[in-house]
């Protein structure tokens, strides 16, 4: 289906008038019809996107309107069921608790990440150069770690028997010898949140720190001379300047933390509980790949896509406005 759309573009292309024209001087020699070249250049990328993303997206929509279960896996045709999958989801109280849980987890992680990240960025300005460089190096290291390596290290740190965290907490007087962190849903989510926040903070800290360099130094000094204390300088000078950065970074955190899958999935395998620790992503995986209920999984996935688009549209609109200017 996508291939026809592509051929259409390619066929249309030559008839495209060389409208608009490029403002720059034209080369002396005339070659292929001007209009066709850009389309030919875009074609491979467009084709790759259509195959890898476009087609699955379309297929997913179709799937979400079908009853596609194990029988269909073995070749049975999938009957159309209209909105049944969606209706079943709306009636499913487990799914709603899942949505609530995902949103809460997302906002908790994004909130803590932003607070810690902005805090570090502000502190970086006050440190001496040596300490600042060391801290920046540490943040870079943490940022560069592959997610799976991060997860294994934190599992090892939180290991109930030999983990350093239980050892330290016991040393500090707690009773944490052999404490299993991943068995209880609440402490499971605490560990997951620590991992997510630890991974996300460097990006926030660096970006906000870069934003802080835009704050005019003279303004800060003038305010200080006029007797403004640190807090009011922060509120009336620094924050207004970095507000756009904070908005974009915060939005990205929300998007990224809403789709969190890897961390939850891997820690679930360590902990053993799934029903009480599922979030949207792991639920899609388990109902689809795990149980073969592809129709249901596709419907949840479509819901998640829509949620993301709704949350992201301000960011996209913003980027586009900049693109135009």
């Amino acid at each position: 289906m996508h291939s026809t759309a592509l051929t259409a573009t390619a066929v249309d292309a030559p008839t495209e008038p060389a409208e608009g024209g490029r403002p720059v001087a034209r080369p002396a020699r005339r070659r292929t019809p001007r209009g066709a070249l850009p389309y030919a250049l875009v074609l491979p990328a467009l084709a790759a996107l259509c195959v890898g993303l476009g087609y699955p997206l379309a297929r997913q929509l179709v799937l979400s309107f079908q009853d596609y279960g194990l029988a269909q896996q073995f070749g049975q045709p999938a009957p159309w069921v209209g909105l049944d999958n969606y209706r079943a989801l709306v009636d499913d109280t487990y799914l709603w608790s899942l949505v609530l849980r995902s949103v809460l987890f997302c906002f908790f992680c994004a909130g803590v990440t932003m607070a810690v990240g902005v805090g570090i960025a502000l502190l970086l300005r006050l440190m001496s150069t040596t300490v600042r460089l060391l801290v920046q190096t540490a943040l870079l290291l943490a940022w560069a770690m592959p997610v799976l390596a991060v997860l294994t290290v934190w599992q090892w740190l939180f290991d109930s028997q030999y983990g350093v965290i239980n050892w330290t907490l016991t040393r500090l007087g707690g009773d944490f010898a052999g404490h299993p962190w991943l068995l209880e849903p609440l402490s499971f989510f605490l560990v997951a949140a620590i991992v997510v926040v630890w991974m996300s903070v460097p990006f926030v800290a660096f970006t906000v720190y870069a934003g802080l360099t835009q704050v005019p130094e003279e303004l800060l000094e003038a305010a200080e001379v006029d007797g403004a204390d640190a807090r009011s300088r922060l509120r009336h000078i620094i924050l207004p300047v970095i507000r756009p950065v904070l908005l974009v970074v915060g939005l990205l955190q929300v998007i990224w933390d809403l789709r969190v899958f890897t961390q939850i999935y891997v820690l679930q395998k360590a902990g053993g509980v799934t029903a009480d620790t599922n979030l949207l992503g792991t639920y899609i995986y388990r109902s689809g790949i795990g149980e073969g209920r592809f129709g249901t999984a596709a419907a949840v996935a479509v819901f998640m896509l829509v949620l993301t688009i709704v949350l992201t549209s301000p960011y996209v609109v913003r980027m586009l406005r900049e693109e135009e200017s």
């Binding site: 850009p38 790759a48 502190l123 560069a144 756009p244 908005l247 990205l252 586009l320």
Partner: protein
């Protein structure tokens, strides 16, 4: 900051040391543990340094690593193939977007932005079904098709910036002096673009090398797992029993990424929010 009082500076420095520990320690601990013996790892008191350790954990991975070498081969093939294909396609598209005005250009740019927001988790069910019906699950080609599509939008977006920054005048001057358009492009523009291509390629490498979710869904056979998927299974098998080998595997997976990342980090910080910083 011109004037920071000594008390404020000391407090900030102390906080800095605490931050340093929180972010550097897990990375240090991964590397340190990877050199320790099982006895050290399971001692009631942690061993805080890797000195006097051995390479046994690493040796185990290569001799009896439950498929580490297979995973390494799969990951390298998929990653390199993804980077090469994505760079080529992205370069052509970036050229079109930044050098030409054509009908549909704007929609293309919008699509690039939108696509970057699609969560993998919202799409892997049908991506799996697609590869399954094409008989491409557990193959390098199948996974590469998905990775190229995943990496492309960002790659085009970044390369576009580099291409737009190149002086068209220089190229045209060369043409006035008798170069063909292609000749001018390869002699003038391409060398100037090389750093941009390298940086963008590194991003693609990191993304494909680290990717877990799609790999997990698509590469299910033991001998076709990618490194992150292998590490996840390997951890489940050896949890508690052999943290040393798990940390050795993690370290090996992390090293190329850390090295590459440090090389291009300057551009990374700008990347996503450069527009926002501009305000």
């Amino acid at each position: 900051m011109s004037r920071v009082s000594p008390t404020v500076r000391t407090t900030a420095n102390l906080a800095g040391v605490a931050i340093l520990l929180v972010f550097a320690f897990p990375v240090y601990w991964m590397v340190s543990t990877s050199f320790q013996t099982r006895a050290e790892i399971r001692a009631p008191e942690p061993t805080w340094h890797p000195f006097g350790g051995s390479l046994d954990n690493y040796r185990r991975l290569f001799t009896d690593g439950d498929g580490f070498t297979d995973a390494l081969r799969t990951s390298l093939s998929v990653t390199l193939l993804t980077v090469v294909v994505a760079l080529l396609f992205a370069f052509l598209a970036a050229l079109a977007v930044s050098r030409f005005r054509f009908r549909g250009r704007k929609s293309f740019v919008v699509v690039l932005l939108l696509v970057q927001m699609i969560p993998t988790e919202g799409l892997f069910i049908s991506q799996y079904k697609m590869l399954e019906s094409a008989d491409l699950t557990n193959t390098v080609i199948g996974l590469t098709v998905l990775y190229v599509a995943a990496v492309l939008p960002f790659t085009i977006w970044t390369l576009r910036g580099f291409v737009a920054g190149l002086p068209v005048d220089l190229e045209e001057a060369a043409m006035v002096d008798g170069c063909t358009r292609t000749g001018a492009f390869f002699r003038i523009t391409f060398p100037l673009l090389a750093p941009g291509l390298v940086a963008t390629g590194v991003f693609g490498f990191i993304q494909a090398w680290n990717e877990f979710t799609v790999g997990l869904v698509v590469m299910t056979r033991q001998d076709s797992k990618t490194l992150p998927v292998w590490l996840s299974t390997f951890t489940d098998v050896n949890r508690g029993a052999d943290w040393g080998a798990v940390m050795a595997g993690s370290t090996l997976i992390a090293i190329p990424v850390i090295v590459f990342f440090l090389l291009v980090q300057g551009r990374m910080v700008g990347g996503l929010t450069s527009g926002a910083v501009k305000g």
